[in-house]
Amino acid sequence: MADKVHLNEDMFQPAEGNFKEAEKIARPTVSYWSDVWRRFKENKLAMTGFILIILLVLMAIFGPYINGYTYYGQDFDKKNLSPNSEHWFGTDSSGRDLFTRAWYGARISLFIGLMAALIDFLIGVLYGGISAIRGGRTDNIMMRFAEVIYAIPYLLMVILMMVVLKPGILPIIIAMSITGWIPMARLVRGQVLQLKENEYIHAATISGANTSWTLRKHMIPNTMGPILVNLTLTVPTAIFAEATLSFLGLGVPAPQASWGTLTSDALGSILVGNFYQLLIPAILISLTMFAFNVAGDGLQDALDPKLRK
């Protein structure tokens, strides 16, 4: 037999306080995006990339004004100087200050990269979205068309377009956008098609939500993640393509500079031993490619709730 437990009335007290307090949500709600940001911040490599991007953008804006030279100013007495206190990155074969030119090049390269990504984004989202929402025959035709164009390699197509267009910044962006939007369109289409079949979209439709509501409240926020990742990864592709074009002599015309033209100009100088002329734009291109790729990868991981610890 177990021991008897003696209970008397003074062992009990009425519970104090409000029961509703226990159910209260004490911490602020963590929205999806703040959660993403939290996860992104924990990824050291991705944060390095992100900070690098910010630094590069800042230097592209202010860099050309820092040491008082212009990107086109030539000084034939000071040709091929090694980096020194006056010319921090040295000078090129026409006596132009490479520090200013490098950051002016950053401006053009980054501008081309960002603009190409933005145009790809706009066309891609429109094309892919329409294709997926229309569905059926329209979808079939639109996607077949995209697939056929996509069979031509991106860079080959850009080079072909640059043969037709005059050299310059705008033509480069146009040439890149002509096929560049296709991966984005395919991505958006796939995402929307997948979402369309989800229960919560059906639930919203049944509850009386119209198309624009579903688009605004469900489709766009839920497709935003992969689109953003794709956008981040488009920038380095575009910068790389621009560098390649400039390297082939199809890039921005002479007094202007991009990282591609700087590397291309420096190619002859390595035989003379002025390797630094090539090294500086090379490092800048590589750093940018690295930063955007790493940040894009980190973003991809951060956006995936399945990877949450």
């Binding site: 069979a151 390699p153 043969v163 005059k166 082939l248 035989l271 090379a282 790729n293 790493v294």
Partner: protein, 349 residues
Amino acid sequence: MKWEVCPIKDIPHFSIANLNISCIHFRFQLLRKSMIGVITMLRYTLNRFKWAIITLWAVITLTFIIMHTIPGNPFAKEGAMPPAVYENLQVHYGLDKPLLTQYGNYLLEVVQFDFGPSLKSSSISVNDYILKGFPVSLHLGAQALVIAIFFGLILGVVASLKRNKWPDYLSMIIAIVGISVPNFILATILINYFAIKWNIFPVATWATWQHTILPSIALSMMPLAFIARLMRTSMLEVMGQDYILTAKAKGLKRSGVIIKHAIRNALLPIITVLGILTANIVTGSFIIERIFGIPGMGDMFVKGISNRDYPVILGSTIVYSAVLILLIFIVDIAYTLIDPRIKVTGEKK
């Protein structure tokens, strides 16, 4: 009644009467299934082939349109030219005919693998250029692809097996370098150190196998990095699967598990990206061939661009695209044959 053992499958043999029937039935079912499989596979292949041809046609048409909207003229660089000579040249190359006729003629010639004469040097036809340049480019491209696949796979597998140890970090660094450093920069850095400073390899041109080393490395870095990263992810995913656990539980050796079960299954995603990687190598070869002065198709293409030599540009674009389309076609078919999980339904949704 004879006692037979069904040769195909262990089918209940306690009932003699049942045995033969079920065996025959089973055989029939198997035959029917494989017949259906072969027919759908054929239909799928034909459908893919049809699209490959349509794509190729679109490429030819598109390049033709692009080339003929060019503002410049191939003879513009010759300087002052008597109008009569100019007109004769136009007539000689068929540039005076209506565009549609030019297009029709061109299409007819392309089907017969005739890309016409080069506009710059009329004694040499585009076919000659292609025949001369293609083997060189194929050699370079194939060598780069082999390097990329071989080292990429090894790096990926080792990185996944030694996760978060130094081999993993090493492969990550190589992957980052491969993806961040554009091939033309890598090429010039390689030339600067290996050829100019240390004198290990020749600087440029294309003669002995030593000449092929630097351009192949420069060309293979990006695909190598891509394969290494993909293989690492794929291996990590496969290693977490139940069948790996089963294989380990059966008492298989670690090497057996990795080679027979893990790597073979992890290879599948690599096959799908081979098309993209080849495209990368093809476009990379333009620059690499130019830097190293390799007389391949990429060099011919780039020269064709600066000379505004339409037939050369058109010809090389079509050959490049045809090679890529063919490769993607093969990869598509191979993928469905290799991966039993992919069911071909005849119609693509």
